[in-house]
Amino acid sequence: MTLGSIRHEIRIHRSADDVWARVGDAAGLHTWFPGITNCQVDGKNRVIVLGSGAPLPEEILVNDDSQRRFQYRITAPMFVHHRGTIDVIALGDQECLVVYSTEADPRTMALTIAGGTAGALDELKRQMEGN
């Protein structure tokens, strides 16, 4: 097993509830994740479509409004293990910290996916702060 674990985080000047409303919308990931062009949810199953055109099946593990935590795993066979976790943590009434963690085996996929998640956090901030 070669597990890679990478974390990115960003401060956003919007309330945690506002940001969570976007992050917790499992079917709306493609609206703030550059490089994901479509997203279909069926119960616990989600299929995202990458910019390369490749579909990627996922299982939603946690979508917890009270903790503001979204957790999922990619179920494509090339992954021995994957877990993506997005936490929205309130820092005040109008500020929050969004933490996007990626674990993957093979570890190289953690690096490849995490490059995308970092870009997604930038885009989420841009949209939420209205820039």
Binding site: T2, G4, P34, G35, I36, L50, G51, S52, A54, M78, P106, R107, T108, M109, L111, T112, G115, G116, A118, G119
Partner: protein, 511 residues
């Protein structure tokens, strides 16, 4: 009408890989002839020993800490300064054909535009290039060569060595007759191989230009970078059994280990297979298992790839002559960094600042119409000096953001204009293993300072006197007899080494 510029790069080619630099295996008559007509640099160094930082230095004319592409996988921003933009703005037609690698290749999200040009043709310019036709080391992926191969010769796509293994790590699988890593018998016909494709596409682009147009064409061959899988039809050029072992290959394990024990600990740890500190070498290959025959076979394949490049360059030069441009074209030939090829019992590359990786071929054949006086330049120059050189060739002022100087034409010119030192830097931080090196080469010394990281506490270093120890086998860093020169070199290093730009650019992918 001014001087036109053909800029030729290879990928991962040692100084001694070409005949004019003393190479004895590959025949490179085309490059050798250019060197005889122009300037051959005996101490040219990259500012990084891996692709993306080094190529970013070439296009920006900036040190790595300034442009900020501090390791492979970090993208050069699209709006970063570019010498191609300077030339295009001055009226030059501009193209890059072959391997760019300013942005990561592993890009499933397709976030990087250079990976999409084969599907969505370039509109306007990109980094100053009006034509952008990319290739890398195989037939798979999203670049123009892979697309061409899959459309015209789909049966050949999988003939190449699989560069990555099933876990997307650099593949350790061996092949050939010796089982050497990344050696492979490639059934692809020579005409379909990326070396000939790069030359063909370059000729095609040049054919579309008007005779009186000025142009800058970066022809960027992906070879002789591993995998070593040239077309099988060419293997008869050189029998691997006849390839001499490199001077830098210690022939017994005891010799190799004694040399490596004198260096900072990540050297031996890599050799022993206990630490792979970077993504540029196979994660599952142990250098201590490398045999002398494997070194010979790797170097045979490498030399054949160098010969194919030389012949492809010859075809492009013939096309330039046929267009009537021969007297007005400057040709610059170099690479992005070197390769161990058996030195110290190692292959590939990594955070190791020795001549195997840091001394590179560089030839500048000025336009014959300028009546250049041939020379061998011994003073240190760097890839950071190329962008200013292109500006000078075009008769343009060197922009302030460039940190190099136009290349000297001889040692007197070098001394007059202060070519005293070359700086090379390494930073990597991958899965908790961080390595940081800063190196100065001057006055015949190579001095590397290690900063604190995974395997180093910041007190380590390497110091070699090239005249006495051209293979850099005896580390003088801790020798009290050399404390004064070490101190002087470090002071000069820190006086001239730019600080790393902040915030640090993000690692987007492994490569």
């Amino acid at each position: 009408m001014g001087r036109k510029i053909l800029f030729v790069t290879t990928d991962q080619q040692r100084y001694d890989a070409i005949g004019c630099n003393g190479g004895m295996v590959a025949r490179t008559p085309v490059i050798d002839a250019l060197a005889a007509q122009g300037h051959r640099y005996e101490r040219a160094q990259p500012q990084s020993v891996v692709c993306m930082p080094s190529r970013s230095t070439i296009i920006t004319g900036q040190h790595v800490s300034t442009h900020g592409v501090w390791m492979n996988g970090v993208a050069l921003p699209v709006d970063a300064p570019s010498v191609a933009q300077v030339l295009h703005d001055a009226g030059y037609r501009t193209a890059i054909i072959g391997k760019p690698h300013f942005e990561p290749f592993l890009d499933p999200f397709m976030r990087f535009v250079e990976n999409s040009f084969s599907r969505e043709p370039l509109v306007g310019t990109h980094r100053g290039f009006e034509h952008f036709e990319a290739a890398t080391h195989g037939g798979q992926g999203m670049l123009a060569y892979a697309r061409w191969l899959s459309e015209h010769h789909p049966e050949a796509v999988r003939m190449f060595y699989p560069v990555l293994d099933g876990t997307l790590e650099v593949n350790a699988m061996g092949g050939g007759e010796t089982g050497a890593p990344q050696v492979w018998e490639n059934d692809i016909p020579k005409d379909w191989y990326h070396t000939d494709w790069v030359a063909d596409r370059t000729i095609n682009w040049l054919d579309g230009l008007e005779g009186d147009e000025d142009w800058f064409c970066w022809m960027s061959f992906p070879d002789p970078h591993h995998p070593w899988d040239p077309p099988k039809s060419e293997l008869g050029r050189i029998d691997w059994r006849d390839v001499p072992l490199p001077e830098g290959y210690p022939q017994t394990a005891a010799e190799r280990e004694a040399i490596l024990d004198g260096k900072p600990r990540h050297w031996k740890a890599w050799y022993d297979g206990t630490l792979v500190s970077n993504y540029e070498a196979p994660a599952h290959w142990v250098p201590a298992t490398l045999t002398a025959d494997q070194v010979r076979e790797v170097n045979q394949r490498n030399a054949i790839e160098c010969e194919l490049i030389d012949e492809a360059l010859g075809r492009v030069l013939a096309a330039i002559e046929a267009k009537g441009w021969g007297d007005d074209v400057d040709i610059v030939f170099t690479t992005d960094h070197g390769e161990f090829q058996g030195d110290f019992g190692l292959l590939f590359k990594g955070p190791y600042h020795v001549d195997s990786l840091m001394r590179i071929p560089l030839v500048w054949r000025p336009a014959p119409s300028t009546a250049p006086a041939p020379s061998a330049v011994t003073r240190p120059v760097g890839l950071v000096d190329l962008a200013p050189t292109f500006c000078a060739i075009a008769g343009l002022p060197v922009p302030e953001w460039m940190e190099g100087k136009p290349l000297p034409v001889d040692d007197t010119d070098a001394d007059t204009r202060g070519f005293e030192r070359s700086l090379t830097e390494w930073d990597s931080d991958i899965f908790g293993v961080a390595v940081h090196l800063r190196t100065i080469t001057r006055d015949g010394w190579v001095c590397t300072a290690y900063q604190a990281g995974h395997s180093h506490d910041g007190t380590e270093g390497e110091l070699y006197r090239l005249a006495d120890d051209p293979l850099q086998q005896v580390n003088l860093w801790d020798d009290p007899g050399y404390a004064a020169i070490r101190s002087d070199l470090l002071a000069d290093l820190w006086d001239h080494q730019p600080a790393m730009r902040q915030p640090l650019r993000r690692v987007e992918a492994p490569v």
